[in-house]
């Protein structure tokens, strides 16, 4: 079988009802206990009372005022009853308005809290968490999964409570009004229940298949749009269309099945309810014939029974909804249960203002077990020195700076700043004294000014501009349509790679860190920008301890110390002149660069 495209699916297993998760979920509703109690009270007492009283009042009107047994109707009683009905309707108006407003308020607050808690938790997680997951899957949890719980919290829970009360209320009224007929009607309830739950289970399963196929389609659509240039360049449009047609056909088949089943639900319920209607008409008339019951009661019964199936159907729907919500809840809690890989100690103090001494003592680390990225690294850097880390991909250059910023924790050994173990201080105080310029500059949506200010939120406009000037970014910013106020965004390609790099220099400079970490970009930068970056670097490094994961010879040459790494170990260190004097990795590396020129 060709594996043209492969999309991983969610599982198709119906999860057993998980009470523990329901408990955790409902803990979010706990702060709103009083409001919930109040709403349920208002709706059951006023809303329900008004609703259930109407058919009763109608039957009174028919039996006592319009068509009494003595044949003498009473207009005044009719007027009185209608006035009472109007009062009930009015009460219902108010109660419903109150309920809708309150249930939504409570539900939205719960959802707000849940989403905020999830987002905050995600912010506290470490790189390790983000390494494992594509951005899309994190996004879906914060948006779609939380949204799918929204309906349950706004309408679901409270409406279910109201439905249950309504069912109980109708049952009682039916039994009280006419016990025999009431009992006869109740016989249909279990039948209805069995039929509907069997059908609903089938429907649920069918929709689950649809959802999985649909998400596969969405994944493919997204990918085929983003990769369209490759597809067209390799003339694969026809193949893609064929693949999509197969996917689409299979999706529509499951849709057809699901919707055929789904549409069956209403008619089946209706047919089942016909049993109730038959009993009602035959047995009801018989009771009237025997003089046990009045016409008014029969009319009232018809109305009550009519509003009896509705809550049963709704409660069944609610149950299906709950099962779907459970899988969302599960995914949300899976994230909530993730512990930060670099936990802050409880007694962690603030890191005092740094001089900038950096020491690594016998540091060992691996991203995965059994695949060490660093083996027993010892490094001692005095404040103010610039250090170039040199080596092949996978030699451990980036790992050293990752540990320095405490994006990960060492497996063995310690990282010390001014003699303080990085694990003993708060992460915020640590990172705010270390500036990092990453290989890919991330641009936040907002103005250029805001982007530079990201390094120091309180900075004045003048400071922002000064920073931009120092790193030679001012000129190109001034050339933009709105200068510093030009709106930029991550996906917008308004800025070139080099310009982005200069922006991130400005950002780092403004933050004024004692220690600077620079992951030098290898990406293409044109000559003019390259020159500026070289100049900007000199400004940026002045008077700070700096670590540079270096690719450009020019940067490496001027470093105070060059550390050569190979397979997680330091194989040599010294300055350019020293290292060039002896044969070894470094000299090979430098020679190689020139060899390509003359090769």
């Amino acid at each position: 079988m060709s594996r043209q495209f492969v999309y991983q699916d969610d599982e198709l297993i119906e999860k057993p009802f998980n009470w523990k998760q329901i408990g955790r979920l409902f803990a979010f509703a706990k702060p709103y206990q009083t409001s919930i109690t109040r709403v349920v009270f208002v709706m059951t007492v006023f809303g329900m009372m008004s609703r259930l009283a109407i058919p009763f009042l109608m039957s009174m009107a028919i039996d006592r005022a319009i068509h009494p047994e003595d044949g003498k109707g009473s207009v005044s009683l009719l007027v009185t009853l209608v006035v009472i009905m109007l009062a009930m309707y009015g009460m219902r108006w108010w109660a419903q308005r109150y309920t809708i407003q309150q249930t939504n308020e409570i539900g939205q607050k719960v959802i707000f809290d849940l989403r905020a808690a999830l987002f905050k938790h995600i912010q506290s997680l470490s790189f390790r968490f983000f390494d494992k997951r594509p951005a899309g899957s994190v996004l879906v949890r914060v948006t779609n999964d939380v949204n799918s719980l929204q309906d349950m919290f706004t309408n679901g829970v409270i409406n279910s409570a109201i439905d249950i009360v309504q069912l109980v209320g109708i049952t009682i009224i039916l039994l009280v009004m006419e016990p025999k007929l009431g009992i006869a009607i109740m016989i249909t309830v279990p039948v209805m229940f069995l039929v509907s739950s069997a059908l609903r289970k089938k429907i649920r399963m069918a929709w689950q298949v649809v959802r999985i196929k649909q998400s596969r389609i969405n994944a493919h659509l997204n990918e085929s749009i983003q990769g369209i240039r490759v597809t067209q360049a390799f003339a694969q449009e026809k193949e893609n269309i064929g693949f999509f047609d197969r996917m689409n056909t299979s999706n529509i088949r499951s849709w057809n099945l699901a919707s055929a089943l789904n549409q069956l639900f209403g008619p089946v319920i209706e047919i089942t309810s016909a049993i109730g209607t038959l009993i009602l008409l035959l047995y009801g008339t018989y009771l009237i014939q025997s003089g046990v019951m009045t016409v008014g009661v029969l009319v009232a019964f018809i109305t009550y029974v009519g509003s009896f199936w509705e809550p049963i159907t709704r409660l069944g729907n609610m149950y299906s909804q709950l099962l779907i919500s459970m899988s969302s809840a599960e995914r949300i809690f899976e994230f909530m249960d993730e512990k930060p890989a670099v936990p802050e100690k409880e007694k962690a103090g603030k890191l005092p203002e740094l001089r900038g001494d950096v020491r690594l003592e016998n540091v060992t680390f691996g991203y995965e077990k059994d695949r060490p990225a660093l083996k027993g690294i010892d490094l001692d850097i005095k404040a103010g020195l610039s250090v170039a880390l040199v080596g092949h991909t996978g030699s451990g250059k980036s790992t050293i700076v990752n540990l320095l910023c405490r994006f990960y924790d060492t497996v063995e050994g310690r990282v010390l700043l001014d003699g303080i173990d990085v694990r003993d201080v708060t992460i915020e105080s640590l990172r705010s004294q270390i500036g990092i310029v990453l290989q890919d500059t991330f641009i936040f949506s907002g103005s250029i000014r805001d982007n530079i200010r990201y390094g120091r939120p309180g900075a004045s406009d003048a400071d922002v501009e000064a920073a931009a000037r120092s790193v030679r970014a001012h000129d190109f910013i001034a050339d933009l349509p709105n200068g510093y106020d030009t709106e930029v965004e991550e996906r917008g390609n308004a800025l070139s790679v080099g310009q982005r790099q200069l922006l991130s220099f400005a950002r780092a400079l403004l933050a004024n860190p004692r220690i600077l970490v620079l992951d030098e970009a290898t990406a293409s930068i044109d000559t003019e920008t390259e020159l500026r970056i070289q100049e900007a670097l000199a400004t940026l490094l002045q008077g700070r301890t700096s670590f540079i994961v270096a690719h450009r010879l020019s940067t490496i040459r001027h470093a105070d110390r060059i550390v050569v790494l190979d397979h997680g170990e330091i194989v040599d260190q010294g300055n350019h002149e020293e290292l060039m004097k002896r044969p070894g990795h470094y000299r090979n590396l430098v020679d190689a660069q020139y060899r390509f020129l003359s090769a």
Binding site: A233, A235, L597
Partner: protein, 600 residues
């Protein structure tokens, strides 16, 4: 309705289902109205005169009607479902095919999120409206017509009184729709903003953490989260205002009917059965009335969805096969490329000057052409024209003497292979990614391509080797690794023409050098275009073209260009500034060499 007429070809062939949906619902509705009539007969003709003999027949008739009604309800549901599904299937296929055909210029400005929402939410909107919404809208009209006609025949005076409430109800329902419409819109935009905010935070998480700005990010998020909540509360507010009000008005009509009707029963001008039947029918009619606003809203929304879909479906295709398009013979293609006075301007970007102006190039088969230039210099445009990602504006571009615009697209592109600046991998195995476009490639060929692209080493180290799934949902690869897979993909087919658009930027110099050597070996006798910023990449090209703002400012071999003052030499000096001796030696050597040539 124009929109739905324009979309006719997507659903009209299923008009049987359309009728099934509409007629099924209409009959079911009409049968529903029979039930109150049966009640009237029961009360007036059986209970009151104590004539109980017909009760069994009547009850069975009632049950029969329920069965038939349920049957027609199912006809409506089934047909509507099928109709909608088939429509969705055709629309989705249609849009997808269109997306495959649209040219690069369309994708320069299109946004993935927007296209996705057309293919998902908008198709969903149309599916629901054509499948069900349309029938329901018609049904509401039928219901009003049938219902009031029947009520009218039972008692026209009472019916007229009740009719007075309809305009009031209609007015409120429309006000409701007007109020709720803008709220729906602002909810949609709030959802969008929330998504964007979270997405940005997650993709930029490394920057966020580097600057320890989590609290700031949380604040930004809370702002959008609050906005989202408040918008929903506003929706609930509108809902809470209108929904109970509409119900109250409807109830008012029931109370009025009971009062006036009851009075007339007492006066013996109306039977009790008539009153019960009228009340029952009123209930049936009033219930769907308040949803009228929604149905109207559905209609407007699906109309807007249809518009967005039609806009996509009717999008002109900028680059397409001309009617007499030539199919190239694989064995005949040499790879001789010639640009003559080629100019090009992006039509959808009027604010930009021409991307390429009077460009000339003669690349005989087997030559290697290098391009150097800054952002926006026109180098990507120049190579793109060859693949017909855009069509030449002025001048001519020929392959073996044939104008590329006269060559069938697929045929042209199968002679060429390109590696883009941003390497894109599909969600599938590495093996499938390398053999993309050549499903019949053998494992040996795939591995050979990987070896040439210096990708063999890291692929072997992956837990599943060539069967490792990559792409957005798969194993994370570094930029350099992705680039090497993309290069392997291009080398697999041993194309006649290879284009490298800054394709080695994420690689270190050593790896890049190895790849260059491999390319030279594979591409012997074939044509290579390469865009790069590194002199080491370009220096061995047969001709190097230096571009600036669409103009060719320098051209020649490395040896020639280093001796000329200009961008090339400057770039060279910057990249080799560390070794002035080397630089001078190079320049000297080439100067001497050319002097020798001149003198000799």
């Amino acid at each position: 309705m124009d929109i739905f007429r324009a979309l006719k070809s997507y659903y009209w062939q299923d008009k049987g289902f359309l009728w099934g949906s509409v007629v099924g619902l209409a009959i079911a509705t009409a049968l529903g109205l029979v039930y109150p009539l049966l009640l009237r007969t029961l009360i007036d003709d059986m209970i009151i005169p104590s004539e109980y003999s017909g009760v069994l027949g009547l009850s069975l008739a009632a049950v029969g009607i329920i069965f038939v009604k349920a049957g027609f309800q199912y006809v409506h549901g089934f047909s509507g479902g099928r109709l909608g599904n088939r429509l969705a299937y055709r629309l989705r296929n249609g849009c997808y095919e269109k997306l495959q055909q649209l040219s690069f210029s369309y994708y320069d400005t299109a946004r993935t999120g927007d296209l996705m929402s057309r293919l998902t939410a908008d198709i969903e909107g149309i599916r629901n409206f054509i499948g069900f919404g349309f029938a329901q809208l018609l049904n509401t009209a039928f219901l009003l017509l049938f219902g009031f006609t029947m009520m009218f025949f039972i008692d026209w005076k009472l019916t007229l009184m009740i009719l007075a409430i309809i305009p009031v109800l209609g007015f409120v329902a429309i006000r409701f729709e007007q109020n709720i419409h803008p709220v729906f819109r602002s909810i949609r935009s709030a959802v969008g903003r929330l998504t964007v905010r979270v997405q940005e935070n997650i993709t930029g998480v490394r920057t966020v953490k580097s600057f320890a700005r989590e609290p700031f990010e949380i604040n930004k998020f809370v702002k959008e989260n609050t906005d989202y909540r408040d918008n929903h509360l506003q929706l609930a507010g509108v809902w809470a205002k209108y929904f109970p009000m509409i119900e109250f008005i409807a109830n008012l009509s029931v109370a009025a009917l009971l009062l006036v009707g009851g009075w007339r029963v007492i006066d013996n001008t109306l039977t009790l059965g008539d009153l019960v039947a009228l009340t029952g029918m009123l209930g049936l009619i009033v219930a769907p009335l308040w949803t009228l606003g929604f149905q109207i809203n559905n209609y407007t929304q699906s109309k807007a969805s249809g518009e967005r879909l039609l806009e996509l479906l009717n999008q002109p295709i900028a680059v397409k096969n001309n009617s007499k398009a030539l199919v190239l013979d694989n064995n005949e293609v040499k790879g001789h490329i010639r640009y003559e006075d080629v100019s090009f301007r992006y039509t959808n970007r009027d604010d930009l000057p021409s991307a390429l102006l009077g460009f000339n190039l003669n690349a005989p088969a087997g030559s290697v052409i290098g391009f150097l230039g800054g952002t926006g210099s026109g180098k990507s445009t120049a190579v793109g024209l060859l693949l017909r990602t855009y069509d030449v504006g002025e001048g001519s571009l020929t392959l073996d003497g044939i104008d590329v615009r006269h060559i069938e697209l697929a045929s042209l592109r199968s002679q060429t292979a390109i590696v883009f600046q941003e390497s894109f991998l599909f969600s599938t195995t590495i093996k499938e990614n390398i053999s993309y476009g050549f499903p019949n490639a053998t494992s040996e060929e795939i591995e050979e391509a990987a070896r040439l692209a210096q990708a063999e080493g890291f692929i072997r180290e992956l837990p599943l080797g060539y069967d490792t799934i990559v792409g957005e949902r798969g194993m994370g690869l570094s930029g350099g690794q992705k680039q090497r897979i993309a290069i392997a993909r291009a080398l697999l087919s041993k194309p006649k023409i290879l284009i490298l658009d800054d394709a080695t930027s994420a690689l270190d110099m050593e790896t890049e050098h190895e790849i260059q050597m491999a390319i030279r070996q594979v591409m012997a006798g074939r044509t290579v275009f390469m865009i790069a910023h590194r002199i080491s990449t370009l220096r061995r090209a047969d001709e190097i073209v230096v571009l600036e703002r669409g103009h060719t400012i320098q051209r020649g071999t490395h040896d020639k260009l280093v001796r000329q003052p200009g961008l090339y030499r400057e770039t060279y000096r910057i990249q080799y500034a560390d070794r002035p001796e080397e630089l001078d030696a190079q320049v000297d050597a080439s100067t001497k060499a050319s002097e020798r040539r001149v003198t000799g």
